[in-house]
Amino acid sequence: MMLTLLDELLLFSGATLLVALFIGRGLAAGWMVTILYGGQLLALLKMAVLGYGGGTIASSLSFEIMGQELSWRFDGLSWFFALITIGSALLSSWFSCGAWERSYIRQGGNIWLFHTAMALNVFTMLILLASGDLLSLFIGWELVSWAGFLLMVLAGGVATSAAMRYITYAMAGGMAIFGGLALIYTASGSLQLEAVTTAVEQMSGAKLWLLVILFGGGFGVKMGLMPFHLWQAPAYAETPGPGSAFLGAISSRMGLFAILLVLVKLFGIVNIESLKLPFTPIDARDLLAWIAVFTIILPTFTAMKQNDARHLLAWHGIGQGGYMLLGVVVADAMGGAGGLLHVFNHATYQAALFMAVTAVIYRTGTSDLNKLGGLVVRMPLSFVVLLIGIIGLAGLPPMNGFVSKWLVYRSLLNQGMPLLFLAAVIGTLGTILSVYKLIHNIFLGQLRVEHEHVSEAPWSMMIPMLILSAIIFVTGLLPGIPLEWVASALQTVGLPVPDHTLGGIESASGSLDMIWVIGVLFAGFGVGALVFYSAGRSKRVHQLDNYAGGHFLSADVRYQYSDNFYAGLMHLIGGWYRGSFLWLERSIRSLVEFLSLGMQGLYRRANAEFYLLTTALFVIAWVVI
């Protein structure tokens, strides 16, 4: 049997899983797994170089079960997502080797389970990305959900309850998809990918709506779209460090992949657009776009209120997902490219950010933003990584986040969607505010006494972080490289591809050339530095040599402004954080609880025979009458 390139990749990934499973207890196991991830990456790149040029590569694996064909294949879209998956797994795993691993074991963690869970996640994600029909898609989907659960639940304690919440949401989403699948199967008699198109042709408006809601909702749960976003932040944040880097980078993007595959590619944006909400001018696409926008704004502003670095980042992860969906839903050349490029960009900076925070936790033992500060003098490289990460996250030049957001803005501008545009910008502004809080509270300001002797993160952690930072910068400088991948993915999905150059986008209505922009920016910095340093030498003073309104500062004085960072803003919008979604979630829970109580009561009532009698009466009365 000839192994196709996809087979090789999957075998490699399976082998990684087996290695983690069987020899994952040894200390060298982490390195071995990392190397195997590298092998997967090579296999993936080999695929791009050798066998795949916009077409698809089939796997030689296929089944027929109960009359259903199951097959797996790779195309441009899968490749793009697989690249991010394997890349982030490689770096996260690398990050986890050595120092972090040892400290994890010291704290009673099960490193074997961790490596296995990571490998399992990667493997299942590849399976999902390779799915060649709806059934294999669903299978992959569920596998990914449960693999994610495994990774999330590792840390125990708070993580367990977060993971439990996750699995309830994920199951609900999975069941929605299951229902959608059944609808399609009924309409078309098949679960091949083409069946969706057939089903769409046959179905009426109401059923199509149902289908869009089922699929959109189901996939949206994984993306953390509103109103299904509550689970994500705690679940990702409480995962052991490298795990949260990995999850934050790619896990929830599986939802976007599925949306792209099912709703955009198979369903067709046109069909979605043709679904009108009765009595309103809104169609299903607008609805999705607005959901995306709310997903941008609300989690971003929730992030602003977080006092734990990991939670803050995780909340942003949800918000950034909104940009991706927004771009994809707008579905013109720039929007699609922006959405997909943002997947890549987000993966890079989110992983870098989580790693930096993990490095801080590794050294200081806490990620509480009110218990840190001033670490820049002790961990300068970590600071740089975090800085690069937050510039990317906030979408400012010169990092890669800017390019993808620029594309999304441009598409909204071109399509004339002012409110969505405005909302997207509000999201960005909110991001800037909260990431400043992040970097300020960790790295700037007063260094605490207990962190006086903290040293820089070990190199085993530093190198992947630096690699990621480099990627963030380089893909910001030369967005043409990832855009090439994005273009191939866009073609697969059937969306238009923008004209792109190495430095950015070529367009009649306003181009972007990052090489120039970054060039002048750095030239400007150079000039600024020239002006600045040409003046007299400055004297480095102690951090407590500071203006204190006439008081003398000493080491025991807590002189850091961290709590309630945006007091003025919160004074105005604080009242809007009513936790309506939490309330909703809780009330659903209470409802189930109440019903459950009722049902138990039903079964515990003394007079069981009464039920029998009544049932018999009603049933027979129904027949007779």
Partner: protein
Amino acid sequence: MIPAVTPELILYTTAIGLIAIGLAGVVLSSHLFRMVLALVIAEAGANLMLVLAGYRWDAVAPILTSRAEPAAMVDPVPQALVLTAIVIGVGIQALAVSILIRIRQRFATLDRKEAAERMDAEIAATLGAPRDISQEAPLGERPLPTLPADQINMRGDSP
């Protein structure tokens, strides 16, 4: 409209009436032994119903005699069935009564509600799970939080 009183009406009414009385008895009685008795009544009704299924006007019992020409005989099958059904009923009743004896010995009561309460309490105690539902208060008034372990037996038996 009053239907004409025919033999079949009387017979069917008796059979079904027995079932209905039995069922009502089971539902209404608050004493376990009476429930068993009501069950016996209901069974009698069902058996009667079964016998009626095989009845023929002007027919004799299905036993061959030396007479040359056999007269019309009633259906023998339901009779055999009823025979079986009755014995089954007896077996079940005997078992029920023996269980009743034990319940009375254990719980010193045959009141339906009380016995159920005791059962719940005992289950809860043996399983170590808190008992969260009382059978007496209506749904809305039941205590939502779980009872602490030391209080489980407070409402149940204190022998």
